[in-house]
């Protein structure tokens, strides 16, 4: 689905990512993890054409992303960014903006099909009942859902999310991630998401990519990546890793400094 080969990039002279290589298989959920400043968001921005890579090649469904135009890219891949939307626009209008890449130059109004797709996107995210509400009046969780609905109305086969749970409480975190897994299964949507919370990443991602100082430190199944040695090395924090009694996935416990000397 997506191949990233020897990607290097940054802002101006400051290089953030060095020689990043990985691939995303069709139908999987890949989590990108790493400490603050390790280049997670920059990687996402480079893949989604916001910044130009200084070296390397990105291919999406066999096509070179650098040579794709923005419209074509937006029909294949959608991005759910970190900032929540607001303003006096109704949810339906907002979700319909996701149809922008499908507009022809001289088209003036949405077609019946655009409306159907937007409605389906709102149904899938359980926000159809909110369609006439203003974004300004919505809660953080509802805004996050509306962003996902807008992305879905682009009819993408690949969905990028940048820390989709960072503004939410634990119930909404689980709700959003359950939804993403469901979309992954039902629409066979490939998902790449930047995650901050390692435990949630372990639970919800098929594979993980761990970044460290702009390089790929390691990649693989959660069990392979989230070992205490790796985490202590990359995050420089003492942790204990055991398997979750519920799912059998790795679960990380932090160790406060008071506890370190008297086990």
């Amino acid at each position: 689905m997506l191949q990233v080969k020897n990607l290097s990039c940054g802002y101006g002279k400051k290089i953030i990512l060095r020689d990043v290589t990985f691939q995303v298989k069709e139908g999987e959920v890949l989590g990108i993890i790493g400490p603050n400043g390790s280049g997670k968001t920059t990687l996402l921005r480079a893949i989604t054409k916001v910044i130009n890579p200084s070296r390397g090649e990105i291919t999406l469904k066999g096509k070179n992303v650098g040579r794709m135009d923005f419209q074509e890219f937006a029909k294949t891949a959608a991005v759910v960014s970190q900032t929540l939307p607001g303003g006096f626009v109704t949810l339906e209008e907002f979700v319909l903006l996701g149809r922008t890449p499908y507009f022809k130059r001289f088209q003036f109004f949405e077609t019946e099909n655009d409306l159907r797709v937007a409605q389906k996107a709102m149904m899938l995210t359980d926000t159809w009942g909110l369609k006439d509400r203003f974004l300004e009046e919505m809660s953080g969780g509802e805004k996050q859902l509306s962003l996902i609905a807008r992305a879905l109305s682009q009819e993408p086969s690949l969905l990028f999310l940048d820390e989709p749970t960072s503004h939410l409480d634990i119930a909404h975190q689980v709700y959003i991630l359950d939804l993403i897994r469901r979309l992954n299964k039902e629409l066979s949507l490939t998902v790449v998401m930047v995650m901050h919370d390692l435990n949630l990443a372990a639970e919800y991602c098929d594979r993980l990519l761990l970044l460290r100082e702009g390089r790929v430190h390691c990649a693989g199944y959660p069990k392979e990546v989230l070992t205490y040695q790796t985490i202590e090395e990359v995050y420089r924090t003492v942790v204990v890793v055991t398997d979750s009694p519920v799912s059998g996935k790795p679960h990380i416990f932090v160790v406060p400094s008071e506890q370190r000397h008297n086990p």
Binding site: Q71, A78, S81, V89, P101, F108
Partner: protein, 335 residues
């Protein structure tokens, strides 16, 4: 369903504003130092050249109303485009220094007597060049390390605006008295009819500008989400921004060079239209264009009534009226 509603709303507002525009035009045609009644108006239309008020109506007032339509529409459209692009309600041709640049271009033209050699069309062209040069200057000064910052953009614009008005004063201090009067009167903003050729070219630019802006209507809607989001929705933001910027400069440059500095139309009118019609540029573009035309024609009528039989420069009216309305609206709005 929603599509039909949108179409209906679009037609409703466009027709309503057009009717309003027509009424304003007729009203403006009737008032002034010599009152013309409705009957007089009709007889002037039916009897043609021989009627009493014919030449006042059709040789003096009508061209100015048409000019008011084109200039008001252009400035307001330029304002709505810039505000949509930069998501900032304070951005408009005047605050960005585009008007000032155009003014400087025209003043230079007058002082150097270029229009005497190359004809009146050199006026809007020099205005347009001035607008374009300032636009690029402001734009490139605001782009830092490859990223664009709206706040420094606005600040640079205001500063450039000051610099151009200082340069204008320098020009005026150095110029001959007959040029001086021309510059001053033109600077205050007036719809004194310059020439048929200028009038016609301004009208064409305004209407073509409106049509061209509709090619980018969805880009403008996407820009409302922020630039990066617009990019994610498949908008080639760099290209759209450049084209829209040039479009705004063309509209402003022509309007300013034909009618002088008429401030606040591009700031106030889009603001009010947005309050009533919402943020969808499909209705916002035409709505702002028509409302800007209405506003300027109305101001023009006022300019002739207030101290009749003398006429005020229309820029004075738009400045006072527009500024007051804007302060009122801002103070009422909960932020």
């Amino acid at each position: 369903m929603i599509m039909k509603n949108k179409l209906a709303a679009w037609i409703f507002w466009t027709v309503l504003l057009s009717l309003f525009l027509l009424a304003t035009g007729l009203f403006s045609l009737g008032v002034g130092s010599s009152e013309v009644t409705l009957r007089g108006l009709i007889s002037a239309i039916t009897q043609g050249r021989n009627a009493a008020g014919y030449s006042i109506l059709f040789d003096i007032r009508l061209p100015r109303i048409i000019l008011g339509f084109a200039v008001g529409g252009s400035l307001s459209l330029a304002g709505v485009i810039l505000q949509g692009m930069f998501r900032n309600p304070l951005v408009e041709p005047y605050t960005l220094g585009i008007s000032g640049g155009a003014a400087l271009g025209v003043a230079l033209n007058i002082v150097l007597r270029i229009s005497g050699h190359f004809g009146v069309l050199s006026l809007p062209i020099s205005g347009f060049l001035g607008a374009l040069i300032v636009s690029f200057l402001v734009y490139f000064l605001a782009v830092k390390k490859g990223t664009f910052r709206t706040d420094s953009f606005l600040l640079t614009g205001v500063m450039i605006s000051f610099i151009s008005s200082a340069l204008m004063m320098l020009l005026m201090a150095l110029s001959r008295s007959e040029d001086l009067q021309g510059i001053i009167f033109w600077m205050m903003g007036s719809l004194e009819e310059p020439s048929r050729l200028l009038l016609r070219s301004e009208l064409i630019v305004a209407v073509l500008g409106l049509l061209a802006s509709y090619l980018f209507v969805f880009d403008l809607n996407a820009f409302g989400l922020g630039e990066e989001e617009a990019l994610h929705l498949g908008v080639n933001t760099e290209r759209s921004k450049r084209i829209l910027f040039v479009l705004a400069a063309v509209l402003t440059g022509f309007a300013v060079s034909v009618a002088g500095i008429i401030g606040f139309v591009g700031l106030v009118v889009p603001h009010f239209v947005r309050m009533f019609l919402g943020g969808d540029h499909r209705i916002l573009l035409i709505g702002s264009f028509l409302s800007g035309a209405i506003f300027l024609i109305l101001c023009y009528a006022l300019a002739r009534i207030v101290i009749a039989p003398l006429e005020l420069p229309v820029g004075v009216i738009t400045g006072i009226l527009g500024g007051t309305l804007f302060v009122y609206a801002v103070s009422k709005k909960r932020i």
